[in-house]
Subunit: 431 residues, 2 copies
């Protein structure tokens, strides 16, 4: 009854923060989500939208007219608005832009010029700028006229042409005399970040220098925006998620609670690709059907050889992909890495060749079968670790995301190597 | 020659930041690393140590006496020191503590009381505290006597017993009148974080409220420390890395450039576990050796059935593990999730059963074989997605990390299901 609805509305709009509401919507199947969304007051809807992941944001905005969208987004910051407009149909987004106040429209259009995953796409354009030749008192008088965000840690120093010169920490304003000049207490340690710098680079600058905010400049050195740590934290989480999820062919901006048909469609592609690779391996195996018909143990043991290679290779692959993401592994230490991995392959390959050989003797009472599987395990593990090392470099230079396609290509390789070496050796020596 | 060494020393100690030096050491094989380390000046060594990952930190500290360690760590903060002492042998760590100035020793011992992955383990104890009943001018006079860190965004408000009451943003000090009372302008929005709260919880509080720093309290509500965003960023990156790396049986604090023997040993365990599971699957397959001997196509197609289940299951598993980490998936929506995944399993299972059935007819010209493999694919994909959904919940309630052991258990299940359904159906209907 309507009493319950009022209770929900009160809860939603007074007791929960917009971040909590966004989290709740993200944790809800899509039908319930639309109902919950309708209980959120118009004042809060804009803020909630900015905290939702791309897929869900898009779904909710997709049901709204340009006029309703403009109504909803009144209080949100220009960078969030620019992100949002990139996720709706161009028609609606154009219409929204036309409906915006002229100044805000110019700001958003300026931001839309930068791809979403660059410094320009992350930045905010609400800047507090001061000149180097004024004193602390003047700055304080200026700041008192503005409404300052609580997390403001520094203001930006520019010349009269808005060229970025340095920054002034808020704490400097507290502890210096009123007549001290900005030029004497400003810091030029924080370099301006190029607007086209990749977001991963931005995150590294923040991490290296423990920054809370950083300036963004254009090609002419003009200060055009600032990036704050909260946006950088999102970048770090999303990119880490990306590496993990794309190894299973999933998208980090996908809706966890997508309905059956949408989820099935998203995952079908990955299953299809893997089916193709499984049949490649099966085709290799089928070349040895005569051998298998004579020694059925080969059929039973083939998957063991393939899977040991798959595991050894994917350990190396994961290590290399992560090392490339953190910048520890580059072409410069590839040679060292290859030698180390070959060493690991020989040691672990040797160890598990012995163990698996021993198990095979115990199981099938055949020393020659044991020798063949031991040799195949050693060769396959070595090939697997070498492929795991080289593959990410090859894919990267072909501009393919190693996290997305690395594991499926690697598994195909290790399956094919595994069947070829084991069944090939068996055919040569056991028949 | 020694001219080169001087050049390296100058580069190291004047041109590179300590973060860059740490990154360089992490990107270097262990032999070269020890040489590079010796070029870093003693003034910088402590700071570089704090930026190294656990494994490498431990290796370098392991070569030093307690006296050398005390020499090196003179300038580092108490929370970093406490972390470090947890990674060296208890004997050396005790000796280091004894050599510290009495006040610092007390601070570090206080921090050592909290596990490394809790709020207490993350916090710093250098607090700037003010009382609610003083005015802005008094606070400013007090702050001017201290050396303030540039990133200071707020000071903490406590009563006379050091009970946490709220916080005062630095920007409030700039914009309010000198005679304004702290009690009127302080904020109590930021709640004190319990010292035993898990670090992932701490990260969520920071992300939800876009914090730069947060207060840590003990069970009595006494303010005992503060956590800053730079430490939280490390937590976020490490935990994301943990989920990705442990799916391949790797450790996020491991040294990427560990030598062959160490790397081999670390990875051998995972290969051993996987070998055991591969033999479980092989044992299942060997029960059907008579069938395989009669229809060799069964040997060729079995791995295809197993691998489709493995892929479908690991997609679900990855999604659930990540959803549990972000807090979107809980026991509360498990039922919905199971039904959705079953739907996805039926749809994708049905689709790929048709495709693989058709391929099998084309390849082996046998409709009955095609029907059997189609049925096995459908059943195995459905079982795989259901296992992928349930497994993380089961493991978590048994206090086992789903990211670490989920994928290996799941693959065992999907291999066994795959062989059982396909070979079982084939034996029943084709022979």
């Amino acid at each position: 009854d309507s009493g319950d609805f009022t209770a929900i509305e009160t809860l939603f709009n007074h007791n929960l923060s917009t971040v909590d509401l966004a989290h709740l919507l993200e944790s809800t199947p899509s039908k319930t989500r639309i109902l919950l969304w309708s209980f959120i007051s118009e004042d809060n809807q804009g803020d909630v939208l900015t905290h939702l992941n791309d897929d869900i944001q898009q779904a909710l905005l997709g049901k709204m007219s340009a006029e309703e969208i403009v109504e909803t987004i009144q209080n949100i910051e220009s960078d969030d608005l620019a992100d949002m407009l990139q996720h709706i149909s161009p028609d609606v987004s154009d219409r929204v832009l036309q409906l915006l106040p002229i100044q805000e429209r110019a700001q958003v259009e300026g931001l839309l010029a930068y791809p979403e995953d660059t410094a320009g796409g992350l930045m905010n354009t609400d800047l507090i700028m001061v000149r180097a030749d004024v004193n602390v008192e003047t700055v304080l008088r200026y700041l008192r006229k503005l409404s300052l965000p609580e997390s403001l840690d520094r203001v930006w120093v520019t010349d009269r042409n808005l060229n970025y010169q340095g920054s002034l920490a808020i704490t400097q304003l507290l502890t210096n005399r009123p007549d001290e000049l900005v030029s004497n207490i400003m810091s030029s340690d924080i370099k301006g970040i190029d607007a086209y710098a990749d977001e991963e680079e931005v995150a590294q600058v923040f991490e290296r220098h423990d920054l809370v905010s950083a300036p963004v400049i254009n090609a002419e050195g003009i200060l055009i925006g600032r990036i704050t740590i909260d946006d950088v934290v999102d970048v770090i989480r999303e990119n880490a998620d990306h590496n993990m999820l794309s190894m299973a062919g999933l998208d980090e901006e996908g809706d966890i609670f997508a309905p059956v048909v949408k989820s099935s469609r998203e995952r079908a592609v990955w299953l299809g690709i893997n089916m193709a690779t499984a049949f490649i391996a099966a085709a290799v195996m089928s070349r040895f059907e005569t051998s298998i018909a004579q020694i059925v143990a080969l059929a039973v043991l083939s998957p063991v050889v393939a899977s040991m290679g798959g595991i050894a290779g994917s350990q190396t692959l994961t290590l290399i992909i992560r090392g490339m993401a953190t910048g520890h592994i580059t072409r410069g230490n590839l040679r060292w890495m290859l030698l180390r991995e070959l060493g690991v392959g020989l040691l672990n390959g040797g160890l598990w060749a012995l163990v698996i050989g021993a198990i095979t003797v115990g199981w099938y009472h055949s020393v020659s079968l044991a020798l063949v599987i031991a040799a195949a395990i050693l060769v396959n593990i070595c090939l697997a670790v070498l492929s795991g090392t080289l593959l990410p470099f090859v894919l990267k230079s072909a501009n393919i995301d190693p996290a997305l396609s690395g594991s499926v290509i690697l598994t195909t390789l290790t399956d094919v190597f595994g069947f070829l070496t084991f069944l090939g050796l068996a055919t040569a020596f056991l028949l």
